[in-house]
């Protein structure tokens, strides 16, 4: 091909790409936006695995996913999501769903969704761990008729899970930390460096709002990879605009990134100050409602699922925490993926089968039909 023809060909291809994108947008509604989420987000389907709400308290909800096959394990799995963003990332599409992986493996799966905090929700870590998490795990134990549950904590949910498990180890059978920053070391960089106490005071964030707006957190995370988040990914989208499946996946991710939730002021301030700035969990300096959170109390089997390319919760920050727990049964599952890729990429989906197998061996296999 002549070099002279190339620009002409690329130009007409760009026209086609533009038309395809336009066509895609014509077919979609836009989610209503508000002051905390001032983004135009296409209303694309996410989180479609059926679930039933079984308990609720102050906007925090407990769901049980409807089983898709016979229950094979006695111990149910409770997924504790982060206080930020929405949990549908774990169930983005039927083919890329961590929840479905566990349901298909025969687990009874529950999910704690923290909900959107408002100015009227001045909850701190004390309430999230010692009231909500405590009550909700109790509710799952009653609902499933068991004494212990397995918990999977994603991202910040991993931190809350670690605190709960250290305080109430008698209620936890197995523990999985998924892309959770638990050992806060500045040398690894990322969000820990960005939250350096010399330059960042979380009180400044909550003072004008009374809570932490979703947009503040979304932009803060985007700042860690600005070129990608503000520029190159949109170019990538445009150049691949003829692939409708890719546009669907792109906007599913866009929806998740921008459709975040507000975080309660007290919880955010304490989490940043105690965890990010003081590494209080690992150093045994954390107290919840006056009770010391000692990671040595975590003696149940523990697994860490980490992404090699995770820049939000670098793998080292989860793995290092395992040195502080009292458990002897530890396992690391590592995938060549980022923070989100760990739960949505095709490559990581294979890893989840291994995780389910590991959990299955420790969840009390049922021999008979329980339904």
């Amino acid at each position: 091909m002549s070099l002279l023809w190339y620009p002409a060909i690329e130009y007409i291809r760009n026209v086609r790409r533009g038309l395809k994108l336009w066509e895609w947008f014509l077919n979609k509604d836009v989610l209503p936006f508000d002051e905390d989420r001032p983004y135009l987000i296409p209303a694309i389907d996410v989180g479609i695995t059926p679930k039933t709400e079984i308990y609720s308290d102050d906007g925090v909800k407990l769901y049980r996913y409807n089983p898709v096959k016979e229950k094979l394990y006695r111990t149910p799995l409770v997924i504790v999501y982060a206080l930020i963003n929405k949990p549908y990332i774990l169930d983005l599409t039927p083919e890329r769903s961590v929840i479905r992986k566990f349901l298909n493996a025969g687990f009874d799966v529950y999910l704690i969704k923290w909900g959107d905090a408002t100015i009227a929700d001045q909850f701190s870590l004390n309430e999230y761990v010692d009231i909500f998490l405590y009550d909700f795990i109790d509710e799952v134990r009653n609902h499933a008729g068991v004494n212990k549950v397995s918990i999977l904590g994603y991202c910040m949910g991993g931190g809350l899970t670690a605190m709960y498990s250290a305080l109430y180890p008698e209620n936890v059978k197995n523990l999985i930390f998924l892309a959770s920053t638990l050992y806060f070391d500045k040398t690894v960089g990322g969000m820990v460096k960005l939250s350096d106490r010399r330059f960042f005071n979380p009180e400044n964030v909550v003072a004008p709002f009374g809570y932490v707006p979703a947009r503040f957190l979304a932009e803060r995370f985007k700042m860690l990879r600005p070129l990608d988040n503000y520029f190159t990914k949109y170019i990538n989208l445009f150049l691949n605009a003829e692939n409708e499946k890719l546009i669907d996946d792109f906007f599913r991710m866009e929806r998740w990134i921008h459709d975040g939730v507000n975080v309660a002021a007290g919880a955010y301030v304490r989490y940043v100050e105690e965890m990010y700035q003081n590494n209080a969990l690992c150093e045994g300096k954390l107290f919840i409602n006056g009770k010391k959170v000692d990671p040595k109390n975590i003696k149940m089997p523990v697994a860490a699922v980490v992404g090699k390319r995770d820049h939000l919760a670098p793998a080292e920050q989860t793995i290092k925490f395992l040195e502080f727990v009292g458990s002897k049964d530890k396992k690391i599952f590592e995938a060549d993926a980022g923070h989100v890729g760990l739960v949505v990429s095709r490559r990581a989906m294979k890893l989840w089968e291994e995780v389910a197998e590991w959990l299955g061996k420790r969840s009390g296999k049922l021999s008979g039909n329980v339904f």
């Binding site: 060909i9 929700d121 001045q122 009550d135 990879r225 070129l227």
Partner: protein, 192 residues
């Protein structure tokens, strides 16, 4: 005063030691202020010397890598165009974009950039907070409720909720203990 005297006075004024001293002091002050404007250790006193050095070294390396990257990028794009496959060009372009992002993220992850970002963030939040304070003052003077009041009410609610939970758990524990005692007594009765 004649013309010669005036010239002599002006000359005396300019060569006066006091004038020279004041001029020198002012010039030094201007110079110092100018350099302070570019001195990051003046703005970010908390940054350690080694952190500043590391940041500058990373930023310099970024420009060096950028130059190297751009030479490689144009060569690869040119080769791809010559192959005559537009998809190959797009692939090369996208691959290089992701490489550029990696270089940028790696080099910009330094304390100096973070200090600047956090400082901008702080300025924005302080501005918002001050606006809120003015707003609160006006609303309170009109007898209206503000964010601050809602926060105070909510904190009281959270305290109350905590107390209720604590008490209810205590009561539940006592009920369980009572139930166990009753069972024990019943069992003893049955045995008799």
């Amino acid at each position: 005063m004649n013309k010669t005297n005036l010239m002599a006075n002006v000359a005396q004024f300019f060569v006066s030691p006091r004038f020279i001293e004041e001029s020198f002091k002012t010039f030094t002050a201007i110079n110092e202020t100018f350099w302070k404007f570019f001195d990051v250790s003046y703005f970010f006193k908390e940054l350690k010397e080694e952190e500043i050095e590391e940041s500058f070294s990373k930023i310099t390396s970024f420009y060096a890598e950028l130059l190297e990257f751009s030479l490689k990028f144009w060569k690869e794009i040119f080769d791809a165009v010559q192959k005559g496959d537009p998809d190959e060009v797009v692939k090369t372009y996208l691959f290089n974009l992701s490489e550029l992002e990696d270089i940028y993220a790696r080099r910009m992850d330094n304390m100096l950039i973070i200090a600047y970002l956090d400082e901008i963030n702080k300025a924005y939040l302080t501005l918002l907070n001050n606006l809120q304070s003015v707003n609160n003052a006006i609303f309170h003077s009109l007898g209206l409720v503000t964010r601050r009041d809602v926060v105070a009410l909510s904190e009281a609610y959270v305290d109350l909720k905590g107390d209720i939970k604590k008490e209810s758990r205590k009561i539940r524990r006592e009920i369980q203990e009572l139930r166990k005692s009753v069972e024990r007594i019943e069992r003893r009765g049955e045995e008799k």
